[in-house]
Symmetry: none
Subunit: 216 residues, 2 copies
DNA sequence: TCCGAGCTCCTACTCAGGTACGAGGCGGCG
DNA sequence: CGCCGCCTCGTACCTGAGTAGGAGCTCGGA
């Protein structure tokens, strides 16, 4: 069973390059090309490829929107997104659009071939540098902020935290509690250390997320 | 510069297998083995490997905790987590613990070798099936925060505000949006001016109170 | 075609926030 | 009594945040 591939890129040189590269592989067949998003959708329906190599930046309709629409079809092909830069905001959008993979145009050819076979088999694959970014983002988000240390706080420290969560400056907190700003700083430092936070901004976030303060 | 590898797995057959496999490669040298987590930590400090192949299920101390402790060292090695099953909740924990990659024991050897070289170079790499899971989780969580209100703000400014409300620094926001820190500062200043706020702390408070972000 | 809005980026500056370290007073508890 | 946790305050220092002011880009509307 050969893998039928559709190449969607607005630069003909790029399309030609892929066609040549893929022609070497006995298990891969390029069934068509598209130079913009609309054409990609059209050919996706008519040619029935199993994998689409999709550039993001294209005229008429960009690769992201084309991806969304193609994946809305019955029995859609897998989409492998191509891009020139790895530092590209579109990575996230592409993944959310449902792309099965993301490779850079200057990744080594073997990697591209491996990626095509991988997504054709239903798995997903990202370029290493992209993977790194996704993991960083993933672990950053998926850290359940535990109210763990909240009960470690002393009465005074909780008081200070509540005022921080109200958006007040150290001077204002000092004023409210009738203590010096220095003392406030001391309390703040202790709160941050106990809760393992970096700055008061994160303290506010934690205060709301932990329910220590109500949104309303 | 050869890549120094430490193999940590409680099954000696597995260790022997890796040793044989890696012995074939001129650029990779196995500098030691460990059969449990504590031993892994010890040898990580004494042998100074650049990559550790770490099994998760090990006696004494499991691979996750060992990973956390090793990454707390000065100039720690990269950790490539090994597992038998891809359907493993440990994937998330491993990534959160700071592992640079995740491969299955029955992945093809070339893939393991590629993974070792990739993580040694500072990038990250996951097995395709693992990548698939991570992407699914990633896209599920990372919903764009809904607008509603704050109409004064431009799209970009709202985006920046949402990230501020997540507790991120300007540098982190720049990183997430692929723009310079300078530009982030510009956006922040505009947000504060438009909303008549003093600093980002008040912006967070407003974001939660206005329901722009959910507490949960 | 010109104009403005929006996004991007820069330098240079000020200041609040945070850390490190030290220190004194208070009250409870073994 | 002596120790210890808590609260208080200070000085010194460093960095991130925010402001000011200017500039170039693209795109869509007048």
């Amino acid at each position: 069973m050969t893998i039928k591939v559709l190449v969607a890129d607005d630069q003909s040189m790029v399309r030609a390059g892929f066609r040549m590269l893929l022609a070497q592989e006995p298990d891969i067949e390029v069934v068509g090309e598209a130079s913009n998003g609309l054409e990609a959708i059209d050919k996706a329906t008519r040619l029935g490829p199993s994998v689409i190599l999709m550039d993001i930046r294209m005229p008429e309709l960009d690769g992201l929107e084309a991806t969304r629409r193609i994946l809305a079809l019955d029995d859609p092909p897998r989409i492998l997104v191509l891009t020139t830069f790895d530092l590209d905001e579109y990575v996230y959008e592409a993944l959310q659009a449902g792309a099965s993979g993301f490779v850079l145009k200057d990744d080594p050819p073997e990697q591209l071939l491996a990626a095509i076979r991988t997504v054709a088999s239903g798995e997903a694959l990202l370029s290493p540098s992209v993977t790194k970014r996704v993991i960083r983002e993933f672990t950053r988000i998926r850290r359940p902020t535990s109210p763990e240390g909240l009960d470690e706080l002393t009465e005074r420290e909780r008081e200070v935290l509540a005022l921080i969560a109200d958006g007040r400056s150290n001077a204002e907190i000092a004023d409210a509690l009738f203590i010096s700003e220095t003392t406030v700083k001391t309390h703040v430092t202790h709160v941050l250390q106990k809760l393992d936070l970096r700055d008061r901004v994160q303290a506010v976030v934690l205060a709301y997320r932990s329910g220590l303060v109500e949104a309303d």
